[in-house]
């Protein structure tokens, strides 16, 4: 047998009996190999450039990575993101449900809420909340029109930098998350509501047992992104000295003048936390996608 054309070989090939089986040779993707080579060379260059840079003192990064102030800042960042996320989500569910109300006033109010808190830059919102004491003296919980005061305290005592940060993060987050919640609620079809209604299930039960569990599947992935976004956005509370991770690393760099090193310390921590959150989100999504 000489060298017949490949196509001819298939047709002409006698049954397996004669000769050894033909070897299969996959197509070589030279472009891919070249691309991978370029990537590896670039990456190696970048790592070398950063790692062996004389102007970067990696020792400083190591010294401060587990510094007490940095760790305290990290704890505060986690706390304000956590509380901000939960409070923001609760607000978002209320606003998202209000948005689907048949009453124009109720759904309109929710729309305005979303418009305002999605529209104000976080840094502006933060400075407003942080300086609430400039326009209001006391924070008062009262029953409207009766003059009965349930609770009252001076703003300066209540609105600490930490709580101002949490409030701003929660408000800003609620604007975005309300839209996510609304999209989730709308993803559950009319038929589900009717089936629940026909079984005599009241509206609250329908929301709790039928609509929300199904809406969650739609809501969870963007909510994971929202949490990661809020964690990163929390760095901005350093403008009102919120005491977070960013405030801590900037504070230290103000003393040591090693700004970039301290930012690397902050970056490593942010990336570490986000890596953990991403893994969590992956498993949550997988659980929600079952069935």
């Amino acid at each position: 047998m000489s060298k017949p054309a490949v196509a001819g070989r298939i047709v002409a090939a006698p049954p397996a009996a004669s000769g050894p089986p033909l070897k299969v040779v996959p197509v070589r993707h030279w472009g891919r190999a070249i691309g991978a080579g370029i990537v590896l060379v670039t990456l190696a260059g970048a790592i070398k450039g950063v790692a062996t840079n004389d102007n970067l003192e990696w020792g400083v990064v190591g010294d401060y990575l587990f510094d007490a102030n940095v760790l305290r800042g990290l704890r505060l960042t986690l706390a304000m993101t956590g509380i901000g996320m939960v409070a923001g989500l609760v607000l978002a569910i209320v606003v998202g449900v209000m948005r689907t109300s048949a009453s124009r006033i109720v759904s309109g109010a929710a729309a305005v809420w979303v418009f305002v808190f999605r529209g104000i830059p976080l840094v502006v919102l933060l400075i407003f909340v942080g300086n609430l004491g400039l326009f209001f003296d006391d924070l008062t919980l009262a029953i409207p029109l009766t003059g009965v005061e349930l609770w009252s305290a001076p703003v300066s005592e209540v609105v600490t930098p930490f709580w101002a940060s949490v409030t701003a993060l929660a408000l800003a987050g609620s604007g975005y998350m309300a839209e996510v919640v609304r999209a989730g609620l709308l993803s559950v079809g009319r038929g589900q509501h009717e089936a629940a209604m026909a079984l005599g299930l009241p509206q609250v039960g329908t929301l709790r047992f039928i609509v929300l569990p199904q809406a969650l599947r739609v809501i969870i992935p963007p909510l994971g992104n929202e949490l990661i976004g809020m964690l990163k956005a929390s760095a901005i509370v350093s403008v009102i000295a919120g005491g977070d991770l960013m405030t801590a690393v900037l504070g230290i760099s103000g003393v040591t003048f090693r700004t970039i090193e301290m930012l690397i310390v902050g970056t490593l921590w942010y990336l570490a936390v986000i890596a953990v959150l991403s893994v969590g989100q992956y498993f949550l999504e997988r659980k929600a996608a079952e069935k």
Binding site: L199, G200, L201, Q203, Q214
Partner: protein, 252 residues
């Protein structure tokens, strides 16, 4: 069992039911047929107040459905009272509307546990029994997405039956099914009708089913009842041109 008097229904300025009068006796099986847009599904949905009405009265077992008479006016019932009334009326939908996040068994046992506050073990036992009755023994832990359309609709029938209703409403229960799956659902409904006790109102395009199972057939067109009577009369010897032309179109 069901008394419908002068029921009108309008969406804005468009009236889709122009005064319907109909009585359904206890244990009777009534099939409503008619072209699409004739108002038959709307009429069915007023029977458990999924749709409100503009005029007239609907009584099920003597109770005014969806409304309350006070000082010569009909006041629409609050949600909780409307929910209470729906307990005695089960409904099966064209698109099944099973709860996709629950297994077949959970779908059936859910409302008895959450709405009627039955003991979970007891509700589950009855749900298992009902699934067996609709030919789905062994499918208890399947999610709806793993079931065929015909199986889903049979779960939906079991779900409605689990509330032990006096009346069952079927809104085109086989219209969304592949042709080869229609038979299994109709067989379950036929079994339900034969075992007796339950009053059934079925909106359907299955003339064969109506002929075989219905005690009475109602033909609706353009928001009115054109004629009604025993299947032999309405289906084989229709008195009105509209009925004749509809039947000849459907049975061709």
């Amino acid at each position: 069992m069901i008394t419908i008097r002068g029921v009108r229904k309008a969406y804005g300025s468009v009236e889709v039911l122009h005064g319907i009068d109909l009585d359904v006796a206890r244990g009777e099986n009534v099939c409503i047929i008619g072209p699409s847009g004739s108002g038959k599904s709307t009429l069915l949905r007023t029977l458990n107040h999924l749709e409100d009405i503009s005029a007239g009265t609907i009584r099920v077992d003597g109770h005014l459905i969806g409304y309350e008479e006070r000082a010569g006016r009909l006041h629409e019932l609050r949600e909780s009272a409307a929910c209470q009334q729906r307990l005695q009326v089960g409904m099966v939908f064209q698109h099944f509307n099973l709860f996709p996040h629950m297994t077949a068994l959970e779908n059936v046992a859910f409302a008895p546990i959450k709405v009627k506050k039955e003991k979970p073990a007891q509700a589950r036992a009855y749900a298992t029994e009902l699934l067996g009755r609709v030919g789905l023994a062994g499918k208890e832990s399947s999610y709806p997405s793993k079931l065929s359309g015909g199986q889903q609709q049979r779960v939906a029938i079991a779900r409605a039956m689990a509330m032990r209703p006096d009346v069952m409403l079927f809104d085109e229960p086989t219209s969304a099914l592949d042709p080869e799956l229609v038979g299994e659902v109709l067989a379950v409904m036929q079994d339900l009708a034969r075992t007796g006790g339950i009053t059934m109102v079925v909106v359907t395009h299955e003339i064969g089913f109506a002929r075989e199972v219905a005690d009475r057939v109602v033909f609706m067109d353009q928001g009115v009842i054109v004629e009604m009577g025993p299947p032999g009369q309405v289906l084989d010897d229709p008195q009105h041109d509209r009925t004749r032309s509809f039947l000849s179109a459907v049975l061709r």
